[in-house]
Symmetry: D3
Subunit: 131 residues, 6 copies
């Protein structure tokens, strides 16, 4: 099987430009990118080029699904990143709040509160940047 890596790379660049119009995303400076840049790059190319760029599902819905998955994993840094991406892709704080209410039922309060706290942090950063 051959993989359309160049095509994914081109599309991944377009998604990156849509999600991070002001420049490269902050998570790019993590330990995986430092210690195994080939893996970090391939994972981004695959995720963005094969999936986030594929309009079978629109980018806003995809960002919300990734966020919903992360609510159950409970990593606040990733949650803030993908809540920001969802908002960049067109979601509102009200929409995310309403989805978190629905997800509380499946994950319970500790995980849900971590997610609400992440959303408060993202909202406050956006408001501070906009004022």
């Amino acid at each position: 099987m051959t993989f359309p890596i160049e095509e994914w790379q081109a599309k991944a660049g377009e998604v990156a430009a849509r999600l991070h119009p002001a420049g490269p995303m902050p998570l790019a400076r993590n330990g995986m990118a430092e210690l195994d840049p080939e893996l970090a790059s391939l994972v981004q190319v695959l995720a963005r080029g094969k999936y986030y760029a594929d309009d079978t599902v629109d980018l806003k819905t995809r960002a919300l699904c990734t966020m919903a998955c992360l609510v159950a994993i409970g990593e606040q840094r990733y949650l803030e990143n993908w809540m920001g991406n969802a908002i960049t892709a067109g979601a509102t704080v009200d929409e995310i709040t309403s989805i978190l209410g629905q997800l509380f039922v499946y994950v319970g309060t500790p995980r849900a509160v971590t997610a609400y706290d992440a959303l408060v942090a993202v909202r406050d950063r956006i408001e501070a940047a906009g004022s």
Copy 2:
């Protein structure tokens, strides 16, 4: 604070009719419903009446987010249930497949394969019912 329980109950009934047009959902016959029917009923009224029925976010997007959250939790029975709900709300097997590919990046293969296996089971049931 007062809670609009009656309004949620009415809206929850509408959501139930949309998600389960052929009758009550199979999960209703679980241990929570048998041992603590008041809690099971309140959880359904809250989830469906306050959230799933709230068109701040459309029902298809909500069902996909619940499914994405369950991918990380890894419960096959719930996954099949919500994949079926997402399809009833308008999602296609191709859309769900494409979202699972994106979620693989965050949860890894064991959880992702559980989700793909659930989707195969749901698809096969739908095809068997339709033939």
Copy 3:
């Protein structure tokens, strides 16, 4: 089905007064309470009014069970909160220490040490307040 919400609210107030005689609990100022106060309030009314206030099981045993559940989830903030509640409801640091030893067998050292660390923090706060 109708839900005795007013009755739960009354009982929830009594439980809150028992668990937090000095005033409202600190966790009340979290992201869920800020972004979705209706859900945060209903969850408290349900948990405290229907369960913690129900003397089928005494409040001390209930607080210890919630703590034991949180040991497996591993959220230090919630652990400290419920260890404090268990102590308010009559548990001692020695009793909680003895339960943590038993739970180590099921959760392993990383989760167990998080719980012991939480208990050290709670004990130190109580001793500092009492001196």
Copy 4:
């Protein structure tokens, strides 16, 4: 440091007799007991002899705490075992049901339903044995 192993062994035997008056517990025939009987035995001696036998906390409360911890881990086989132990130590199905309602708030529906289903299985086995 020396460890009072013989004392724990004697106390562990008393706890085993209280929890399993009809004979050895079924979980004793697991893979750990077969492949590493020394570890399996030491873990039982430690858990039962140092903790479950220690009346700093009564056996019923301990069994309920272990069950509450397992609700968050979500292993049905262990849940059924410890719900049975809690009942042997004096708990009722109503008490366990009431505790599961309280724990739902922290773990969400998939984990809670697994626990309610385990309790239904335990209750049905007890009723079948008693009739």
Copy 5:
């Protein structure tokens, strides 16, 4: 960045031949392979070609590490698969048993017993095939 996909594919084939001398591995017939064969293939090429084939770490140590990681995740199907791979790569049942004892300390009994049970199943299959 360019990725040496063809090189990984060649090396992945060599690893597959070492791990599954009798033919393709059973897990290849899962839902991911059926619904998204491109992703399933890329994941195998990456894992086997870039990592398992890289003799920075020998294959036996790598298989034991994957198994140790899966002990914490708790998926019996994957555990059996990688215990089998570790044995094919030169590990013995005694070595795996000794590693499981060490991992018990970090994961607790429910996860550890799942792993010991998986090892009993793998050992019994090997003995049945050899007799």
Copy 6:
């Protein structure tokens, strides 16, 4: 059954000397050691004396397996500790980096990035100490 506790204690001391030639390990000052020193001591004697000291599997492989298990659990403090132990037992940063790439496939990016970040921290500490 009798347990060779004194033999384990002697062997555990040798392992401790190998893993922490400069003195006692930092984790020894945790809440478990403070609140239940008998349990903390027995767990160390068991882990080090019965398993880490047992040359059925060499200490470097054991440390890598414990690290791999902790990658899935996701506790950064423990990860740093065992990455340091693996390096003391002979592993290199390159070997650990290569194993983390392989484990990414099973745990996904949030857990993998936590592990790479831990390895960066350990490597930086070693380099700072060596310069």
